[in-house]
Symmetry: D2
Subunit: 364 residues, 4 copies
């Protein structure tokens, strides 16, 4: 199942970073959903490298082509195949990895697992595979938005020592997020983040960070106990991302220091008569099932492993060497991870939506 | 798939907290593995309530019965069915939940999802379902231990404000862990944790905490890119646990503040000629695949939602009420979560082991 | 996945023929479906050995116990665990299989696959495992009947040379089917079938046969193109049964000799204005999707492999031997296969129903 | 799961008959397997329309492009994406289906299920989707051939009233099969089959048939009890093919008329000391597990539903109409179904092979 994600709304992806193309198949998307290539391209453009001074100068047109499953602007209910040709190939940039494993990269583990020399550019471990996730997520959003009104918004909440204030209650859009090069809608924090990235780049180094994501208007009742809790699927989705080191939902690790009386979200009656909670430390999920409050969670990313600064390491023969990358890499993956986090979130929610339709039908 | 976990080594579980029994089926366990009920019972006993002054006084004999899949002390390769009868039923303790949802519990979401009044005792959302996980994990360990020499050890590393020092490099056993009532092998930290729990209990309150887990002797090459990375499956497993709010592997959220040159794990040559890493911020997983170093991760648990202290909330009709539980609940789930974290880890590793056998075979 | 059947409505089963118990878990059954043990026991009784002169004299009380997932006469939406204790154990009957593989039985292949001596009584290959299927099917019918009005009826349509006339258009019930010891509602054919079985038994031999099954009131639109066509899932289900050698839907192998103009089912307008077909060579499935006409198919069963008559064979060392069973076996599995065919059909339809609810929801 | 086939060796396919492309992803193929586009193209060419006088004159270049998962002539262990552009589009040929459902075609059921007007050319129900199966099967064979020496050969054994003699014991190759336009290696039977097809075509009609398939050198021990028996997976695979109406393995429906003493396959000692069976009515599978004998089975196909001959039917409004196709269709699908049957067989065996590697590893 390694290259398939989801139970009913499923993305299967393919593609090495420097092969002919990356792409995938979305299976399970309902029929009669408005969809065209422009809708998908828009989100894909947000992941593209070379967008700003703080990202890699590698240029990829990243044109998505939807090969099936839609006709005349709507989905058919059949699988949606898609591909994105790889155009800016420079395998030479990556040849250095063949003789020695890059520290904290996947060269060594892929070689152990597959018995093949690390393919140029890290092969399947490259962040390039996330392009297929973004396409899948855009299709998922084409379903989630019109049908449920769900809005998923992620942003950079931390880069190195620069941290944004709590923005959960703030109303902002993806356009607001995109207004700063680091994708942090708080202008002041964004400036500090840019400085962190520029300083790291100047040192031939890289820097880590955190993405926060909030999902509004998710109906109550989604999530499949016990093993496929909404929170568990989101955690699975996030930790499947390159460079991700942790995830916390709602109160997260902060909950470890709290007492129940301070942590519990008391129920309140909403104006429409339905039940809500006055606080949202649960992060919108209780017992693994959504409760109608916004879902929110934070995702930690490590600093990019490939850096220009020389590092002492050993080669495959165990000889001491110095490793220094000449490739084109982002000093901080976090700004470009923002649309990828949104995409994986959309895939999880679309899957839970379909599973929930089953339950809803049962209750008629 | 909600009640099944795993691809090749699979646990499917059943059972409400106050129904006739909890149990499950382990499918995919290799044949000819030494197994008997005593091996499983030993780990199940560690999860049992009523073990110490800091846990719930609810008494459950929790006798597991292995109904199939083994004969004369070894597994047959066929599914292993098992059941644990529920014996200490007091549905009355939970009746209060029928009229109003307990804050931060699953009463409300289960009712929305399934359209049934919250079954007595929280039904499937009760921590009682974790007994089946522990049985599954014990069977997984019966496979992982003899075949690969894998040792999984978890402990309580934090309760409220009491935190244990970094114990990763320390050699200790499950017996050492069990030597303190909170399952923290550092005696001084354990005392502080006990005080946190006793103070919370005295206030009719509860307290959160963190479990740290380390897996030694896991071979390099396990984990299925891209969506079923070892780290992603562990995150899925942990967030599927009741009360879990976050997970971080290796450097975790700390990585967000670090630079690549400080975070990267340089390769070194081990005495046996193989490659290792001098540090282990990767947490034993690189590119989603194990690298032969110890896997380690931390799991955050919120304070128990059900507390004796009265809380202001509303009932299903939206009327203001005061909620105060009379049930028997742990003021802190963390000590009893330790064997459950180990069990889920074992299930993940057993699944990755079998998937890895496929790969290993390919390389012959 | 070997011991799990289904995608959303799933049966996972366990149990060797002569171990402690057989049983399973039904996961995915909707909540609020009327269910109790008596409903399940009724169908299980139809599978029980020792019911008539033409079946094995082995006696099994076969009492099913539903361990979870229901309360006060309705399902909870949570997994339904169940077990059936094995009571009439005579392992000695089967010991003969340890030194030599019984011809056309699974002794040899299980030994090759699992590396264990054939467990007493054939272990998991015994028809005893079908008891769990019947329980799963009865639960599926509890859902399919009230919700959709679906009626599944199977009968013995052939035993050896005795074949029933075409009964598809005949209105008869399960009671009519059960009225004859061979479960053929045509009295005259039933008599000929009994004679076939008695003659085989008298010779220490066994005899094959065919079960025909019809499903009425299945809504149009069920079935998942392209790989999980309704017909494909039914074929999978049937060929997973012990002793099954073939399946054909609608015109089946007869279609090979026909022309399109004679085979095609022309559409007609039904009295209620909907479309139907005047003939039903499609067997109720077109392009893998149900069309609202009755689904019908035929299932071929080989003669029981274990016979009293001595057969020349070789043992595991390759030495010539004569094999003759002293165990208690049905000379013809077909009459008892009837409720098992119904059960697997119900499991397939319940799964397709839930998958279809997803589609139906999409079209609102 | 509808567009994914397999557990470990998995094909996910996409593509409408008259959209931009058909294609798919093979996930789970081992690394370091020799593979290039020519190997795949060779088998794909055998499925191509327009090959002989007895097939449709529709011309498709059907050039496969392998987009990922291989490099320098070997597989990488990563998913293999592929696409085949659709080039000979004539949507107008199919427009007639929009107002009325073609009898015994999938127009009506797709419309009920997906709520979209039947896409031009039958959309996903078209036999064109089988091109992706053939690519998947060719990749599976690239694995099965070199590693296990498995040879899969299918041929046309019946067309209408023309039936080939029993050819199981005959040694012939795919070249021999391809030597006749109907893919029957028996020259005399092939002539009769051609006459059946020509006669049907002359009448504006179509004709059904049977494909027989044999798999040699499959190791003993493959197949996953109880629900994923080798025979069950093959049946699933075959009934998932367009126009398939039945499958029988080994003795098949003939077993229904036999006695056990005549049906059982006695064991014999092979020259190499291993056990075999003197006869092979089991079809190479016992208890759902391969026994090392050739696997053989027969697959029934109905006559093509779309015929030129006018048929009385009704349109979607229930009005009487006469339907007569002007599209380009094979009067008999069977000759072109031969490589598709081989492909699905290869996919099943590759999946069982990988599952079996797990078991084999267990027994070391």
């Amino acid at each position: 199942m390694s290259n398939t994600f989801g139970t009913l709304f499923r993305l299967t992806s393919f593609g090495e970073s420097h092969g002919a193309a990356v792409g995938g198949i979305v299976d399970g998307c309902p029929s009669r959903i408005p969809l065209d290539e422009a809708m998908v391209q828009r989100q894909l453009n947000r992941r593209r490298p070379g967008q700003s001074a703080v990202t890699t100068p590698r240029q990829e047109a990243d044109r998505v082509r939807l090969l099936s499953g839609w006709s005349e602007g709507v989905t058919l209910g059949t699988p949606i195949g898609f591909s994105i040709e790889n155009t800016d190939l420079r395998p030479g940039d990556y040849r250095e990895a063949l003789g020695a494993p890059r520290p904290s990269h996947a060269d060594y583990t892929y070689r152990v697992k597959y018995g093949v020399a690390a393919a140029s550019g890290g092969g399947r471990a490259s962040a390039r595979e996330t392009a297929a996730r973004v396409v899948g997520g855009a299709i998922a959003e084409a379903f989630l938005g019109p049908r449920y009104g769900i809005a998923i918004t992620a942003w950079t909440s931390r880069v190195g020592g620069a941290e944004a204030p709590d923005l959960l209650a703030t109303g902002f859009t993806r356009d607001d997020v995109d207004a700063t090069p680091v994708r942090c809608p708080d202008a002041k924090a964004a400036e500090a983040m840019v400085r962190e990235i520029e300083a790291a780049r100047a040192d031939g180094d890289s820097i880590g960070g955190v993405v926060t994501c909030v999902c509004r208007h998710v109906p109550a009742g989604w999530g499949e106990p016990v093993f496929d809790k909404a929170s568990a699927l989101l955690a699975h989705a996030m930790l499947s991302l390159p460079a991700c080191k942790g995830v916390e939902i709602g109160s997260g690790f902060g909950a470890a220091a709290m007492r129940g009386s301070a942590h519990n979200d008391a129920f309140v009656r909403r104006p429409d008569g339905s039940l809500g909670t006055g606080t949202n430390r649960s992060g919108g999920v209780q017992g693994g099932i959504t409760n109608g409050e916004p879902i929110w969670f934070r995702v930690a990313f490590k600093p990019t492993a490939t850096i220009a600064k020389p590092q002492a390491s050993v080669d495959y023969e165990g000889r001491d060497i110095s490793v220094a990358s000449k490739g084109r890499h982002d000093p901080c993956v976090v700004p470009r991870a923002v649309p990828v986090v949104e995409a994986m979130t959309a895939l999880v929610l679309a899957d839970l939506a379909l599973l929930s339709e089953v339950h809803a039908a049962r209750l008629l």
